[in-house]
């Protein structure tokens, strides 16, 4: 993964309540979310968050309801002020920004896509898509070309003069995405952007985002509580629970090495064959000698390898990337990877 860090969150704490400072000290001393609620009537939103978000990649923040995902993403453009901590964007601590600099950040560097679309109902689709240039004071005539371009890119040809309520939910969210793209910002924040859509449309939108990413390489921060979605989109996966980061890293790595029962619960229901890639389970070796039944690509899913092997667990495959051998894949090893770790090892305590 590229070492280019776009957004860097350091020791971020957020406590909701009338008097957060004393509560902050208690949290730093080790008080949990439930204790803080019971004893101090303060809500622990975020607890010592440290996350680096790589430039041009998709960082997915995942967690159950109330785990602090929305709170975290709203700190990145300071819709919520932290109780303590730092947020660095392109090497600048945005918490030191004054109001004007902050507006500049929101207008040019970051755009946001919302779960409930949050379009302006009294403006046309075109005007909604052009919200960012309009905020800068550009006239509709000036931004029309740019906005139309992005509306067409997300699949809304010729709908510019409609009003949002005349569109379906999926189309409205396309407007939301076009609005974010028209701002030409490097960073796109997406708070459960696809959660309000029905499953088929949702898959469409995920594919649209993947296509756009291949083309534009924005730094995307995506929030979801759906692991399938997370694994589909993420280059970097951050898992939150009760306001703290339980585990973060490469999604495949987390899937194979969950470090917490909370995450094991999450990953137990997943179709691992479809999600895991060959590269995550192969043995890395360049001199792949010996008898092999064929070649597979490092980025193939295990599902495709299984169908290739016709279920024969005795086979071995040579793994290649760009035609070069990079490892070996044993079918037994592959099958073992399909079973969650704790189920194959010691018995699980939780049902």
């Amino acid at each position: 993964m590229s070492d280019n860090i776009k957004i860097s969150v350091r020791h971020l704490y957020k406590i909701f309540g009338d008097d957060p400072q004393p509560a902050l000290e208690m949290v730093k001393a080790g008080m949990t979310k439930t204790e803080l609620m019971e004893q101090e009537q303060h809500v622990l939103g975020l607890n010592d968050i440290n996350v680096d978000m790589p430039a041009g990649r998709t960082t997915v923040i995942m967690g159950l309801s109330g785990s602090g995902k929305s709170t975290l993403i709203r700190h990145l453009n300071r819709l919520i002020e932290p109780t303590s901590g730092e947020v660095w964007v392109d090497g600048e601590n945005i918490l030191e920004y004054n109001e004007r600099q902050l507006r500049g950040l929101r207008q040019h560097k970051m755009s946001m896509v919302f779960q409930k679309f949050a379009l302006l109902p009294h403006r046309t689709v075109l005007q909604n898509a052009g919200m960012a240039p309009a905020v800068e004071g550009k006239s509709e005539r000036k931004y029309a070309d740019e906005a139309t371009k992005w509306l067409e890119r997300v699949g809304l040809q010729g709908q510019g003069n409609q009003y949002p309520h005349q569109l379906s939910g999926g189309m409205q969210q396309r407007v939301g995405i076009a609005r974010a793209l028209t701002s030409n910002s490097d960073i796109m924040l997406m708070d459960e952007a696809f959660s309000a859509l029905d499953p088929l449309i949702r898959t469409d939108m995920q594919n649209l985002l993947i296509d756009l990413q291949a083309e534009l390489q924005k730094t995307v921060v995506f929030i979801t509580h759906d692991l399938d979605e997370a694994l589909k989109l993420a280059d970097h996966l951050v898992i939150l629970k009760d306001g703290f980061v339980v585990q973060q890293g490469e999604p495949q790595h987390i899937l194979l090495n969950p470090n917490d029962p909370y995450i094991e619960d999450f990953v137990s229901d997943i179709n691992r064959a479809r999600v895991l890639r060959v590269r995550s389970v192969m043995i890395e070796t360049t001199d792949a000698e010996g008898e092999v039944s064929g070649e597979v690509d490092a980025d193939d899913t295990l599902e495709s390898v299984i169908s290739k092997s016709e279920g024969d667990t005795t086979r071995r495959y040579r793994v290649t990337r760009d035609g070069q051998p990079v490892g070996m894949l044993d079918m037994r090893r592959l099958v073992r990877a399909l079973v969650p770790r704790d189920a194959s090892g010691e018995t699980r305590m939780t049902g």
């Binding site: 453009n77 207008q107 755009s111 109902p121 919200m131 009003y163 701002s183």
Partner: protein, 342 residues
């Protein structure tokens, strides 16, 4: 002698009250007592409430209740002049506006005025039915020779409703932006709304001369402004928080947010407030004819004073027709806004 003598005796305050009890025979009870010449032996059943008057009987140093009303009156008269210095110039434009509007509405010939009103109604409501309704109503009122009065009433309503909106909307916006302002304003609005309309007129009559139009102008405005303030405040507070958040996330300034998002999205509620404000101006303009507001209200008053049943009923009908027109037209405008915003 009086019921509560014992209180003052017990407290040893008889001296302080002034020894002489037989001074002014001022309360009714005193007079009665005197007339019958009996000493009052009051049974427990008839014990009077220890009111000012009752206590005054026992102790003349305590003022009678009518002193209170007289004191209030005196107080008001004392500040009246200084109040007038401030309020008079401030409200003078209202008199001018009312006079001008009355003059224009009456000076314009009917064959311009009625089509003009129909045109306005069409522009606001975009409904041919409504235009016909307006034509019929005004035609009828003109036919029975109430045209003049109708125009006077309309002129007053236009001016007052306009001023209500002019001040009411900004006040409502200020309330929506600050909980403190809202907490401060709500009791004032409650008071303005619950005070019987006649009560407004009393201090105003003392303050201004009855010949000045602003006398009734102020009464109408105070009474009718409440709904537009309340609904502006409510409308802005009810604007979808997600949309506000989006506006923030794209870097809008407070001003852009107010004019570009909050007011447009609150417009249905604001228009509902304007509708109520206009209806309340109409109600008040009738009452205000007591203090020389011209228009249909004068006819109603004539109907009452000189028992001209026909005049009273017809002018009442005229007011109903006006109310229907104003209500329908503002509702049509409201419906158009709603349609544009889903």
């Amino acid at each position: 002698m009086a019921t509560y003598d014992f209180v003052f005796e017990a407290l040893g305050l008889k001296e302080a009250c002034g020894a002489d009890d037989g001074g002014g025979l001022s309360s009714m009870a005193d007079l009665m007592g005197d007339a019958t010449g009996e000493d009052q032996v009051v049974s427990l059943w008839d014990t009077p409430f220890p009111s000012l008057d009752a206590l005054h009987e026992a102790c003349p140093a305590i003022p009678q209740s009518r002193e209170v009303t007289r004191g209030l009156e005196q107080g008001f008269l004392n500040i009246k002049d200084s109040l007038k210095v401030v309020v008079d110039p401030l409200t003078q434009p209202l008199s001018w506006a009312l006079n001008e509007a009355l003059w224009i509405m009456q000076a314009t010939p009917w064959w311009i005025m009625i089509p003009l009103l129909m045109l306005i109604v069409y522009l606001v409501g975009r409904s041919a039915k409504l235009v016909v309704l307006v034509a019929v109503c005004f035609g009828f009122l003109a036919f029975i020779d109430y045209y003049e009065y109708t125009m006077q009433t309309l002129a007053i309503i236009f001016v007052c409703a306009f001023i209500c909106v002019l001040f009411g909307v900004p006040i409502g916006i200020a309330m929506s932006r600050s909980d403190r302002v809202q907490r401060g304003m709500i009791p004032v609005l409650d008071m303005l709304q619950t005070l019987p309309p006649f009560v407004y007129l009393i201090p105003l009559i003392f303050l201004f001369s009855v010949t000045e139009p602003k006398l009734y102008g102020i009464a109408i405005i105070l009474y009718a402004m409440v709904p537009v303030i309340r609904l502006t405040d409510l409308g802005i507070r009810l604007v979808d928080q997600d949309v506000i958040e989006a506006a923030d996330a794209f870097g809008m300034t407070k001003r852009q947010k107010l004019y570009g998002v909050q007011i447009p999205l609150a417009l249905p509620n604001i228009m509902a407030g304007v509708n109520q404000t206009i209806m309340m101006s109409l109600a008040m303009v009738v009452i205000a004819s007591l203090v020389s507001a011209p228009g249909l209200g004068v006819l109603v008053l004539r109907g009452i004073r000189s028992l001209e049943l026909g005049v009273g009923l017809l002018s009442g009908l005229g007011i109903v027709l006006l109310a229907i027109i104003l209500d329908r037209v503002t509702k049509a405008a409201l419906a158009r806004i709603n349609a544009a915003q889903k």
